[in-house]
Symmetry: C2
């Protein structure tokens, strides 16, 4: 049967999510824990690569196994074999033909900025520190221009392997709580470094380098040079990946089981 894993991790000590030949990745670590649990070599299929230092509350991977362990208990058994900076936060059975990348997804990322004089050591690996005052209202207005279907080539780093640079953004908002700004963006997919380049651009808007409406011109330019710098990896969290088509088939699958 095919098992769906929702994976949370602190990306600080990993070279990204995806398996690497010569470096330590989250996926390699999860594969090793599964192999130890099931006493044979196990391989997962991941939903989303994340870069070195990027975190996740809800990345997704699947694998196939024959086991008598109740699917929801697999999370506990794998967690007992994982370092504390990676946790399986959910495990469940999905249809055997479910593929985490070739299925319609809605992804949500958050980007975290501490906006005050000195950094906070408690969250030093989880947020970008910005000394200069940021205008979160201007940033939120700039973010609103991202919503809709656009060609996001201006926010795409070299090395992107997607066939098209057109994506649909469902929501993009910046909110402040005290000294902390959170940028949250939801869409049907994201180009390589797209959220970090958008975050870097919003921080320029927040410092008053250009007005919020300039975001529209940056999008229309279809040129990476028109946008701001790539914000640091450590402020980024892949919050969740939703599969709108999965729910019903998953329920069916659960019903078959019970």
């Amino acid at each position: 049967m095919r098992i769906f894993l929702k994976i949370a991790y602190d990306g600080t000590n990993y070279h990204g999510f995806q398996c690497q030949n010569n470096a330590n990745s989250v996926q390699d670590t999860v594969n090793a824990a599964l192999s130890d649990l099931f006493k044979k070599e196990m391989k997962t299929i991941g939903a989303s690569r994340t870069d070195t230092g990027v975190h996740a509350h809800g990345n997704v991977a699947v694998f196939d196994v024959d086991t008598r362990i109740e699917p929801s208990r697999i999370a506990f058994a794998v967690n007992a074999r994982l370092p504390m900076d990676i946790r399986i936060v959910e495990s469940r059975r999905v249809p055997d033909d479910f593929h985490p990348r070739y299925t319609t997804t809605i992804k949500t990322y958050s980007y975290h900025i501490l906006n005050r004089t000195h950094p906070d050591p408690l969250f030093r690996n989880l947020e970008t520190h910005c000394y200069y005052p940021l205008d979160e209202k201007a940033m939120n207005e700039a973010a609103s221009f991202l919503v809709g279907e656009h060609d996001f080539l201006s926010f795409c780093a070299a090395g992107n392997s997607s066939a098209t640079t057109i994506r649909t953004i469902y929501s993009a908002e910046v909110a402040r709580t005290g000294d902390r700004l959170t940028f949250t963006i939801t869409g049907n997919g994201f180009l390589y470094n797209m959220v970090r380049i958008i975050a870097g651009t919003l921080m320029e808007v927040g410092q008053g380098f250009y007005p919020p409406s300039h975001m529209r011109e940056i999008i229309e330019a279809r040129d990476r040079k028109a946008a701001g710098p790539t914000a640091l990896a450590k402020g980024l969290v892949l919050e969740r990946i939703e599969y709108p088509d999965l729910t019903s088939s998953d329920d069916k699958c659960m019903m078959t089981k019970n």
Copy 2:
């Protein structure tokens, strides 16, 4: 002149705040950074010991120095010589006779609990994970019995060196945001392990081991065995230390300077 430092740190990798002969402490690390900056051996006087693994957003230390560095800029110069898990978040001049321990203080601590099935790896060193459902309303009601002047002997670990176990608590509240519970307590002083023992007791209330009103009986027992277990150090943050008597003398001091 005497310089006041407000210090924030992630206590995970330190054997508490106070200088140790045979272990790595926050204060030793700050002293070393100051010694490097001022090119002679520097010693600070700390306000509050914190245990191994306990964090701070606002511990306090003072030291004496003759320097032409503007007091508020000392924070930047020291931070350049500190590891990222310790930050000086404020530096300013205070009267030469100001002592961070022998002055009236109001201290505030926060204790953080994640209440869901699996831990969150992003905050693994900053919160206690509780698998069992916690009733935050019951915990908040229990906390209300702490407010006022009481003998807190029941919440005092062996090794306490205070002359009296009577303290005044100004406020004590438990609040939930989603899966996270925060216990915040403010008082004129705290006994050894007092906040962690209270947090452990509140978690027993939250699980329904006894009703909130039992808190009154625990206080009246004046017996450590009446209270719950000591909650883990990693959930505790020394948020701030206020010196009500300092403001005016400090302003005077600032005026003398300017």
